[in-house]
């Protein structure tokens, strides 16, 4: 059976049991991952995963069952199990779950691309990475170099008892380079274009070629070597920090994206991933950030890792303002939580596989560029009397209400009277969410803005890993540096 036949078989079976609502996702995902180190391929893997997930609402309580066994009898059994689970949920239920009034969607979507990354031979990809690692290894003092590329192709057929009928194929691809310099009890890493396996986008293999990993390898390696000889960023007090756009993307992720997920705000994640300091009635009232700051959750951003046609509840992709001129104006919602606030979903329900339920997940939660299109990082540095420029994420942590954060970066440069000065290693900065965002007094313009990826966002039980993105430009804030 193909995906459509499987989805319709499951929907037919579950509909006969009379739930108030049911939806089915039949998913086929193929993926590939290649790791090279120095002059060799460390790992090259292809993975295929297929299955069917059935979600039902019976007497206002949820049930979900999923199987990788695509035999017809197994799919029908799974549909019946979902109903049995929902009935069990009813033993400890609260107010009945109601869904919003999103009209059922019908349509198809495929990620725009030139070359499907899974059609490119492994050898061709590996040689591209090896050209980069070999170029980096020409730099004296480099200890080892790693190159990586990953790709996913997910085909989903969605059906619901409300009549939704969606088919979409999303292509995601990533690549990156990391040079390491080791010595004297230190390991310094410099990454290009960003850390943790690089930059990920929706699109084709051409996006990874456009990163030009070989062309940036030597400069990346030189920075790793320079970091090894640099001093630690001194322990300091509150000061001015200029964050490059990739680090600011991580800051958006942890201190805007997660705290504005409505399921967290309502306590649904409290025991595990944590809650949020934001309350439902803060919408329209809470001055979250400086007036310079506006944020939108947009599943249509070109090449964003969180770009798709429909979410996993069949809601068409859209764009929703979250923070407007510093004021909190919206949350990330799904059909269940949006209904609780009397609205409709903004299409952020996503599951990491056929075997997982959709949760509220970020799509492309992006900071708008600053007002002057031509302002870039150099302009912001030139406009800064004293502080530090911090670049590329190395570590992250934030408390369970999303207020108290601490980040580590790969590199920091001192800023003195508008000039970049000394390089420091092991930089960290820390602060509190609202204080930090309210301190924003400079943002790069549209030319400085870029969509960055976070491909390993964890949430939910059983734990799910989402691939999301954040657009950002260079930003200037107040924070405490050098915590250790």
């Amino acid at each position: 059976m193909d995906r459509t036949e499987l989805a319709e078989l499951a929907l037919t079976e579950v509909t006969a049991l009379g739930p108030a609502f049911a939806d089915v996702r039949a998913v086929a995902e193929d993926s590939e991952s290649i790791d090279v180190r120095d002059d060799r391929v460390e790992r090259a893997t292809r993975t295929a995963s297929r299955g069917v997930g059935v979600r039902v609402l019976v007497d206002g309580a949820w049930g979900f069952a999923a199987t990788a066994d695509e035999d017809g009898a197994a799919v029908r059994r799974t549909a019946r199990l979902a109903v049995e689970i929902a009935r069990a949920s009813g033993r400890v239920s609260g107010a009945p779950v109601r869904l919003d009034d999103t009209p059922p969607a019908c349509g198809t979507y495929t990620t725009p691309h030139v070359v499907d990354p899974l059609t490119v031979p492994v050898a061709e990809k590996a040689e591209y990475l090896l050209r980069a690692t070999e170029a980096a290894r020409t730099v004296a003092g480099v200890s080892f170099v790693e190159g990586t590329t990953d790709a996913w192709r997910r085909h989903t057929v969605y059906r619901s008892t409300e009549g939704a009928a969606v088919a979409q194929t999303v292509l995601q691809v990533g690549g990156g380079l990391a040079a390491f310099a080791v010595g004297g009890g230190e390991v310094q890493r410099r990454s290009y274009p960003t850390s943790f396996r690089g930059q990920f986008v929706t699109g084709g293999w051409e996006e990874i070629l456009a990163l030009d990993l070989p062309g940036h390898a030597a400069s990346t390696a030189r920075e790793a070597v320079a970091l090894l000889a640099a001093p630690d960023l001194p322990v300091g007090a509150a000061t001015t920090v200029v964050l490059d756009s990739s680090q600011l993307a991580m800051q958006i992720h942890e201190s805007i994206g997660h705290p504005l997920e409505l399921d967290r705000i309502l306590g649904m994640e409290r025991a595990y991933a944590g809650g949020s300091f934001v309350r439902p009635d803060d919408r329209g009232r809470l001055r979250y950030a400086a007036p310079l700051v506006s944020v939108t959750a947009d599943a249509t951003t070109r090449n964003g890792l969180g770009t798709f046609g429909y979410d996993d509840e069949g809601v068409p992709a859209g764009s929703a303002p979250i923070i407007a001129d510093g004021l909190l104006v919206g949350f990330l919602t799904n059909r269940e939580t949006a209904a609780l606030l009397g609205g409709i979903s903004n299409g952020t329900a996503r599951a990491d596989s056929w075997g997982s339920i959709p949760l509220i997940r970020m799509n492309n939660v992006s900071l708008h560029p600053g007002p002057d299109e031509d302002v870039d990082r150099a302009d912001i540095v030139a406009d800064t009397r004293a502080g530090f420029l911090l670049s590329t994420n190395r570590s992250w942590s934030i408390d369970d209400q999303r207020t108290n954060f601490q980040f580590g970066c790969e590199a920091a440069y001192e800023i003195s009277h508008g000039q970049l000065g000394r390089l420091y290693r092991n930089p960290t900065y820390a602060g509190r969410t609202i204080d930090f965002w309210r301190s924003c007094d400079a943002l790069g313009g549209a030319r400085d803005w870029r969509i960055w990826s976070v491909p390993i966002c964890g949430k939910g039980q059983p734990s799910q890993v989402a691939r999301v993105a954040h657009g950002a430009s260079t930003g200037r804030f107040r924070a405490t540096v050098g915590v250790r």
Partner: protein, 451 residues
């Protein structure tokens, strides 16, 4: 999930073990069913059941300068599914450069110890029973206290076979219950993990979480700084997990381990003995790793002295060591490092640990910890769900949560006393570990939270 059993899994794999295009083939087959009932705001809000599997085929071809290796995986556990995975793995092997550090396939004829437990009541736990346990948990809370958490049951099978004669099979179960109790301005958390659901007591867990809500009401703020601390098992486990990568041969090779070159040296307090033991009855475990290498107890730190390191085949080969049974299915980044940690308990009960503190903090649990500096084993994170002030040897009330930034080895050097009654605790990404509560003479808190 009906079990396939060893013979059915072996029969699936055998046709792809011997192909003319390969000099060696390894097949790892897994099947698992995880059912998880999740509650929040004192109602079940998510309730899931997933049955999945995986066949991972690794093909090895001899080549000048080493071997070529290709890997492909599928969750179609059918003859066609495995044939397709083998075809893809063979194609990848043909297309890649020789791998000089390939660790080799395990040799056949190995004996495997016993590990874990197979409890049918856990593997086949119906959703009604999980819901009733949620009811038991919530009934254990005081009026006005809300509950959130999970009841999870898992049954899994794993088989490893290769063309060198390895035939390994394991079936096991795991259960977890946790509860977060939340009051107006305080919270408490308790958790249990075991190989069988019947070994967990929801009433006891609910009471522990509920007690902390009352004890922590109207929390005060204490300034950041160095404090003596008492860490519950859950907090200890998080620190141990963050140190685990230091024992991996890979970290030693890359220079990121704080233990590189320190075997036989005193690295922390003499009261600290830490092992990795997948065979312990305390932990859900399996008797072999993802390469079919038998697992065993590995002594990582003995009375404060650095001991053995851990390897998968590739990292062992890279440094001239032998595999220690620590391979995980890729792309798991934890492969090669210990994932079944147990720290030896001491002789102090919890009251004695607290009784030894003049003024300090009591920590139930840490949140969102991350390595800041691997070579210094520096970690940051925050406290959550039950942080208390200790004065004159007793807990006097709750405090707002704090951020810590501290070296794990420094913390383990500051161990003054080790508790008697350890617990198994789960940490996301890392898995289950057993640790006792600890009293440390000093622990560095660097800032405060607002709650």
């Amino acid at each position: 999930m009906s079990r396939y059993g060893a013979e059915r899994l072996f029969d699936l794999a055998v046709p792809v073990l011997g192909t003319d295009e390969a000099d060696g083939v390894e097949v790892v087959l897994t099947r698992d069913r995880t059912a998880l009932t999740r509650f929040a705001d004192s109602r079940i809000h998510q309730n899931t059941d997933r049955s999945d599997g995986q066949a991972r085929v690794r093909v090895v071809r001899d080549a000048p300068g080493g071997v070529r290796v290709g890997v492909a995986s599928t969750n179609r556990l059918t003859p066609d599914g495995l044939r397709e995975a083998a075809r893809q793995a063979t194609a990848i092997a043909a297309a890649t450069r020789p791998a000089p550090h390939f660790g080799g396939l395990a040799a056949g004829g190995l004996a495997y110890p016993k590990a874990g437990r197979d409890d049918h009541g856990t593997a086949d736990c119906p959703p009604q029973r999980r819901a009733d346990i949620v009811g038991d948990l919530l009934r254990g809370l005081s009026v006005g206290v809300a509950g959130a958490g999970v009841v999870e049951t898992t049954g899994s099978e794993m088989a490893v076979m290769n063309s060198h004669g390895v035939r390994a099979y394991h079936v096991g179960t795991r259960a977890m219950i946790n509860i977060l109790a939340t009051g107006a301005d305080s919270a408490g958390y308790a958790e249990g993990v075991a190989s069988a659901l019947d070994d967990l007591n929801p009433v006891v867990l609910a009471r522990r979480a509920d007690d902390k809500v009352r004890l922590g009401a109207r929390p005060r703020e204490v300034p950041p700084g160095d404090y003596p601390v008492v860490l519950e098992s859950g907090a200890t486990v998080v620190l141990l997990h963050r140190l685990a990568q230091a024992f991996a041969g890979r970290a030693v090779r890359d220079g990121s381990s704080p233990l590189a070159g320190r075997a036989g040296q005193q690295v922390c307090a003499p009261s600290v003995t830490l092992v990795d033991d997948p065979l312990s009855p305390l932990l859900p475990g399996s008797p072999f790793d993802a390469e079919g290498v038998p697992r065993r107890r590995t002594t990582l730190i003995e009375r404060g002295v650095a001991g053995e390191l851990t390897y998968d085949a590739a990292t062992a080969r890279a440094v001239g060591a032998k595999p220690t049974g620590h391979a995980l299915l890729p792309p798991n980044p934890l492969s090669g490092q210990p994932t079944h940690l147990l720290m030896d308990g001491g002789d102090a009960d919890l009251a004695e640990l607290v009784g030894g503190v003049d003024r300090g903090l009591y920590v139930t649990r840490f949140h969102y910890t991350n390595l800041v500096h691997p070579v210094r084993s520096t970690v940051t994170g925050t406290t959550r769900d039950g942080t208390f002030l200790i004065e004159d040897g007793r807990i006097v009330g709750g405090v707002r949560n704090l951020r810590f930034t501290e070296s794990v080895l420094a913390a383990l050097t500051a161990v003054e006393a080790v508790g008697r009654d350890g617990e198994v605790v789960y940490e996301r990404f890392f898995g289950d570990a057993y640790a006792p509560p600890l009293r440390l003479s000093s622990f560095q808190f660097t800032s405060t939270s607002t709650h």
